[in-house]
Amino acid sequence: MLYENSIKVLYIDLSTGKIEIKRRTDMAGYLGGVGVASKLLEETMRPELSPLAAEQPMILAIGAISGIYPLITKTVAMFISPLTGELGESYAGGRLALTLSMAGYDAVVIHGKAPRPSYIVIDGGNIEIKDARPIWGMDSDVVGQFIRDHVKGSGKRSILRIGPAGEKMVKFASVCVDTYRHFGRLGLGAVMGSKHVKAIIVTGDKSTKIKEYKDYFRVYQSIFKSVTETDLMAKYHDLGTSINVEVINALGALPTKNLTESHFDGAEKITGEAFANNHLVRKMACTGCPVGCIHIGQFRQKFDDGYDYESLSVAYDYELIYSLGTLLGVSKTDEVLHLIEAVEKTGMDAISTGVALAWATEGFMKGIVTVAETLLPLTFGDSKIYYQAILYLANRKNDFYRVLGEGTRSAGATYGGKEFALQVAGNEIPGYHTGYGNLVGLTVGARHSHLCNAGYAVDQSISTFDENKAVDALFMEELERCVLNSLVICLFARKVYNRETVLKALNATGYVLTDNELTTIAKRIYKTKLGIKEKLGFDPRQVVLPERFFKTPSIHGTLDPLIAERMINRYVEKCLLLLSEEN
């Protein structure tokens, strides 16, 4: 908590309706964000039960200086992932971090299961669990509109909600935050669905006097300047992350048609520029971020003869263009946007959805599954069919879509075709086939996401590959991100928030920490995460990597499984060394 030495945690037990608020002075050593959330997860999780058991917690947390510096805008969610069965960790922007701090909480722990569909209103100290029966079944966008009209606090509240996929506990269901941001990865939407929670609304009116005005504002201004006046953030503001479509394709690292290729012939039609020229109508920002990387694309489509059009607007990003575009062979901008709209309203993770459908398409082509299962002739490039398939997947239409909704790993294990199921430890892969850094990074990363240690960036930065150096770089980055994520800084600003700036920002608000102390905190957090993974039975050395990763060339050529194995072993050794260190 800002200017305080304790972490204020709100506990909500949905089964009993019991609410508790605790000030945890024992948690100061975890700074906030992912540190506090990991500790709370470790304390409250039940490793012996299934990830969707009512007893499992779902945790939200913000950092010590959330909302008072540019781009310290995110909230972390931690849970046991129903998709991988182990550590679930996901980040969302929007207004949530600011509203949680204005409500006066550093962390929220929700456990139990509501007796009927419910939504939770957190309005400062006033917590209510309300009846959501009439809105159960609603699409994610519609439920947002309903809540806006029924709960007070326009402009300063944050609305989290799930779509039908979350209710049906599709294992990669997402949670939509304030229309354009998400807790996307690893199935937080299914966790909310399993708890009978359709939405969470956060608002509050707490104010905090600035202690050292001059110091604080000096640092604020210098960060603001480097964010808006240097080119450090230009990429995100200009074309946005979709600029990567060209870059990654040119490198030969863009997963295409279920990674049967790493170069997409139609890529020039769906570049960041193409989206901007054809569809971009506005940019938006998370609260407290002057960059505004959220790119909203609008398109219209005819729904009847004559002049009957409907218009839709959705946010697009690189990962979505990859998973619902290149990986499915879709090469038209408006068709990609249409598929994004489908995952938005049903409430699923866009990456996992695209990967699952790409696997299903290859399986269909190979005859592993037929129309009897898929109900649709899945074909690379046919977005109309994919649109329908997304609706089937979200609603678990038949046995096939039910299995596919358990994740691509499960689908491969049930129907065959594990070798081309693009998942690592159960999590569907992001849009990079850059080399060992990426592949090993996904395997050893705490949540098997490209955001754990940015292995794709390690691959892009090295000219001559050295496996030991690559492993060291992955480890260092994963550790450093424990600091950034304890403050819950937007990772796009990771170059702005180097150690020096982080320390300055903390010092100006009364957190007098040294560089070494930050490193100690990072290690403490990483150790906690590793401990959780171990308790949940995870060992990276046991991960079976699908053959496909070693067949399609990456930017470092065709990968050798033996080298990947050696790198994983070396990484595990580094973790063991860390765990044996004194605190």
Partner: protein
């Protein structure tokens, strides 16, 4: 004297940097609720952003008119300045302003009025807000 105008709200990205800096500089508070300018959405995030801010009324100034103690003094160029010593916290000014640009701060028992200092405009990354010279 210059006054603040929300000139290009179509370009607004909803970052609230304007509110954060207004509250910081003028109230020395971290809460955006202490800001004299407010950014609102019309119809959720899919709608447009609008700025609620003092319109710098001249001549007839409703808020100053209703103030029983003369705590709101007309500002040269438009709008008002608050004389804290004289304010009795009756909230009449809040209801008098048609555009809802005055907020009552219940913790200090004082209204928050925009003094057209332009700090918000300085921190708006998209040039939505500007300090402009009012043409006489």
């Amino acid at each position: 004297m210059k006054v603040l105008k929300a000139v290009e709200m179509n370009r607004c990205i909803g970052c609230l940097s304007c509110m954060i800096t207004c509250a910081t500089v003028n109230q020395q508070d971290h809460s955006i609720l202490k800001s004299a300018i407010r950014i609102k959405t019309s119809g959720g995030l899919t709608g447009k952003f609008m700025a609620i801010v003092c319109q710098a009324c001249k001549d007839d100034v409703p808020c100053a008119e209703v103030c029983p103690t003369g705590a709101l003094v007309q500002r040269k160029g438009g709008g008002v300045l608050l004389d804290k010593e004289n304010c009795v916290g009756c909230e009449h000014c809040v209801t008098a302003c048609t555009v809802d640009a005055i907020y009552f701060d219940h913790s200090t028992k004082l209204p928050i009025v925009c003094k057209h200092c332009g700090v918000c405009a300085r921190f708006c990354p998209h040039g939505c807000l500007q300090l402009t010279e009012e043409v006489q």
